[in-house]
Symmetry: C2
Subunit: 164 residues, 2 copies
DNA sequence: ACACCTTAGTTCGAATTTGAACAACAGGGT
DNA sequence: ACCCTGTTGTTCAAATTCGAACTAAGGTGT
């Protein structure tokens, strides 16, 4: 932290663009999902992640990682969605501590119902705004960014157990 | 919503990349700011926005727009920061209803203190990960995305008053 | 001056999120 | 078999967020 290397104009534009776009997009998605499907974006993501896996069920920790949320946050949401009948908890045979979150028939139904409107909004706010070239570079760039951050988190966690 | 145009592989990569990167970056920023400056990202952004304007003060609504947050959310945060001495409320001369949020000396100090570490993290998670070309395209892309969303929000607001 | 519609900020209650603390279990090495 | 360390998911309190309702002004047209 000796001499901070401040951001030049172009770097600042990229950073501000990223932060502002994230917030605006999140706000729009939240509003659209709530209005047309009665779901929060978090809940929708839970449905998506579960539906994307062969048997429609994932371990809590695994699911929390994919959602990029805290374990306690997931516990809360799964409880809510369980009350709403979209998800069911199932215990794990090989590990007594383990809990699977599993999509119910109702969960599939809600997802099928919500997906078209969500995808349309995603196109509207991001995908259809950009050219193919821009999309390609965006995917590549943010994929790399994500990979590095995941790796960094793993490193912190490994050291973090006993703090050195 | 007739026939949903699903996302192809490349579009999906861009979208997932965006969502995942947003969450990971936000988590990292939050952690870094809390640890090294005792600030939330929201609070840091308030300091930044106020510092970026000539007299270090903005109307509440204006500030809320720049932060992409709700008015009530801003009221809460400004109250917190006022208690912490980083910000001061000042009433507006030309409009009795108006309220300015103004950076205090302490606010400037906190910002100067926090900025280097924040910028370093921003470089670490995004800027220094990408090439110049990628940065240029990212800024351009997300700038356009933001502009369109802002415009869409304005249109909704104008119609929204009496709901057509 | 008087209705009328919009705007500015705050207040309120409800929903969500997080990290720390916790209890129970898994796994490995001795 | 046993101790030690790391995991798993939940609980808890505290902080934050949002939208709707509300108060108080602005601004406009008549």
């Amino acid at each position: 932290m000796d001499k901070p290397r401040w951001l030049d104009e172009q770097e600042m534009a990229a950073w501000r663009g990223f932060v502002v776009a994230s917030n605006l997009i999140e706000r729009r998605l939240e509003q659209q999902l709530k209005e047309n499907a009665g779901l929060s974006h978090t809940q929708y993501e839970i449905l998506v992640q579960l539906s994307a896996v062969p048997d429609g069920s994932l371990r809590m920790t695994d699911l929390a990682d994919r959602l990029v949320t805290s374990k306690s946050g997931l516990t809360y949401q799964v409880t809510q969605m369980e009350k709403a009948g979209m998800v069911r908890r199932r215990s794990c045979a090989s590990d007594v501590r383990g809990v699977f979150a599993e999509l119910t028939e109702e969960g599939w139904r809600v997802l099928r119902e919500a997906a078209p409107g969500h995808v349309a909004t995603v196109r509207e706010v991001l995908i259809d705004v950009l050219s193919r070239e821009q999309l390609a570079m965006l995917g590549e760039s943010l994929g790399e960014v994500s990979d590095r951050l995941r790796a960094a988190e793993r490193r912190s966690a490994e050291r973090g157990g006993a703090e050195r």
